[in-house]
């Protein structure tokens, strides 16, 4: 079995556009953007260059759901960012091609925001 070596960087959301801009200039390919929301928002941006896999981690409080868009550097990010607006109720600033929360038109508003109460560990599992 092959476990790919993956690199991580944690940064502040204010520093995000500049860092992503540098990556774009260096020729990294945007692989994915993943949002998650438990105690706080945590957004992961993954890039690939010459088989090297790098993820940027941006975390911020639930009370301030604003995030700068990276569509300036990677236009293709618009689909991920619109998805995050729909699923998490985030507000993306500077987003080119903004669907304003109507990308998916869901049955439930921001379904990924309300995380269920922590599930008790199953027998044999290790509690966190």
């Amino acid at each position: 079995m092959m476990i790919e070596e993956q690199f991580w960087e944690t940064l502040d959301r204010a520093a995000l556009p500049a860092r992503v801009g540098t990556l774009a200039k260096e020729g990294w390919r945007l692989v994915q953007i993943c949002g998650s929301c438990h105690e706080a928002f945590e957004i992961l941006y993954s890039f690939d260059k010459d088989d090297r896999f790098l993820s940027l981690r941006v975390a911020f409080s639930k009370d301030d759901p604003v995030l700068p868009s990276i569509t300036e550097s990677y236009f293709g990010a618009f689909s991920y960012e619109n998805e995050m607006q729909d699923l998490f109720g985030l507000k993306l600033t500077g987003l080119k091609l903004n669907f304003n929360g109507n990308f998916y038109r869901l049955a439930k508003k921001n379904p990924f925001l309300d995380t269920p109460p922590a599930v008790a560990p199953a027998p044999g599992g290790v509690s966190s």
Partner: protein, 359 residues
């Protein structure tokens, strides 16, 4: 400059087996801009990881899409196995590769048929699907399912393929390859096919990279990136190289898929030649903890699974970035400036899988 009109394309459209909607901003016959609107098949599947336990999720993951089904479950299982640091038996890895390649052939043949239908070559559509049916029989014989295999699980695979069945499958595949060669010849040489695809929907190499294209859409523009290069499962032990074409047009994307089918036949043969006896699954120890991105190559391109576990039986977060989701921005780019009558063929050449994209 002509007056601008907006023509709605979809959600129900004869060439689309699945609903997606595009607003085409037109200037006479030219498309100036295409604006997608999606969400017709959004099932909120990622969220289900919070309700289903991580072993059940393998079957949900398989149902992200009925065409790329097997590789979805395989990718999910690989991600979980990485968290568990679980070494699965060699035989299971080989079987997974054999089934992945079978599913790639089935998906590409399906695509060839739909594309033939999109440019009005009905008999070619029927022939592609006739050959595909024979492959589905082999999939059923080895895995038990036709489109949803249900054979992959965390820790290995659910059933073994005995030597006799494998031998017969290889024989049948050889016969199938000969039949496919005829169809491939029509796709790559027929003048009417060429006319519909050559020089249409060109995606330059730089744009393909900048917009995050994956799979045949990326390789058709001359970029040799194929996630199998990461050597997951046993791809590192097989002899192959990513297939690329330089032109970046519809024809190039079609040729990449045509050649990939031959490559998949070859990979199945290689894997079947190297497979050794042994168990096909191991027991799953405990619950997943930590986070990991698994990357695999689907028929439609690179797929990414992110899993995050906290030691309970439910994952904290499960995310899939499917190839069609990544190929949407490049699609909007190549639609700009095309003619209205070419829209269906161009849309099809990224091989859109909407149920993948919306999950």
């Amino acid at each position: 400059m002509g007056q601008r009109t907006i023509i709605p394309f979809g959600p129900q459209h004869p060439v689309l087996p699945e609903p997606i909607h595009l607003d085409l901003v037109m200037e006479d016959e030219k498309v100036v801009e295409a604006i997608p609107s999606i969400g017709f098949i959004h099932r909120g599947l990622e969220k289900m990881a919070e309700k289903k336990d991580f072993q059940e999720m393998a079957y949900i993951a398989e149902r992200i899409c009925g065409i790329c089904s097997f590789i979805h479950s395989m990718g999910y299982c690989q991600a979980i196995e990485a968290l568990l640091k679980l070494e699965i038996p060699k035989r299971a890895e080989y079987l997974r590769v054999i089934w992945s390649e079978m599913s790639r052939i089935h998906s590409h043949l399906l695509w060839l048929g739909l594309t033939a239908d999109a440019f009005g070559f009905e008999s070619l559509f029927m022939h592609s699907w006739r050959v595909r049916e024979k492959l589905l029989d082999l999939i059923e014989e080895t895995s038990g399912g036709r489109v949803i295999f249900g054979v992959c699980k965390v820790g290995g695979v659910r059933r073994d393929v005995d030597a006799e069945t494998l031998r017969r499958a290889l024989e049948a595949l050889a016969a199938l390859e000969a039949e496919y060669r005829e169809i491939a010849g029509v796709f790559s040489r027929d003048a009417s096919v060429k006319r519909r695809m050559t020089g249409i929907g060109v995606l330059p190499k730089e744009d393909a990279r900048a917009l995050g294209a994956v799979g045949p859409t990326l390789r058709g523009s001359g970029v040799a990136w194929d996630a199998r290069r990461l050597q997951y499962a046993v791809y590192g032990e097989l002899d192959w190289a990513p297939i690329t074409e330089e032109a970046g047009d519809c024809q190039a994307r079609c040729l990449v898929r045509i050649r990939e089918i031959f490559q998949s036949f070859d990979l199945i043969r290689q894997a079947a030649g190297k497979i050794s006896d042994g168990p096909v699954a191991v027991k799953v120890p405990g619950n997943p903890r930590g986070e990991y991105f698994a990357r695999l190559e689907q028929p439609r391109g690179e797929v990414v699974y992110y899993v995050k576990g906290n030691g309970t039986k439910n994952l904290q977060r499960f995310r899939v970035r499917t190839p069609t989701f990544a190929n949407l921005p490049p699609l909007l780019k190549i639609l700009q400036g095309c003619e209205l009558s070419d829209v269906p063929v161009i849309v099809l050449t990224i091989d859109p899988c909407i149920s993948c994209a919306e999950r």
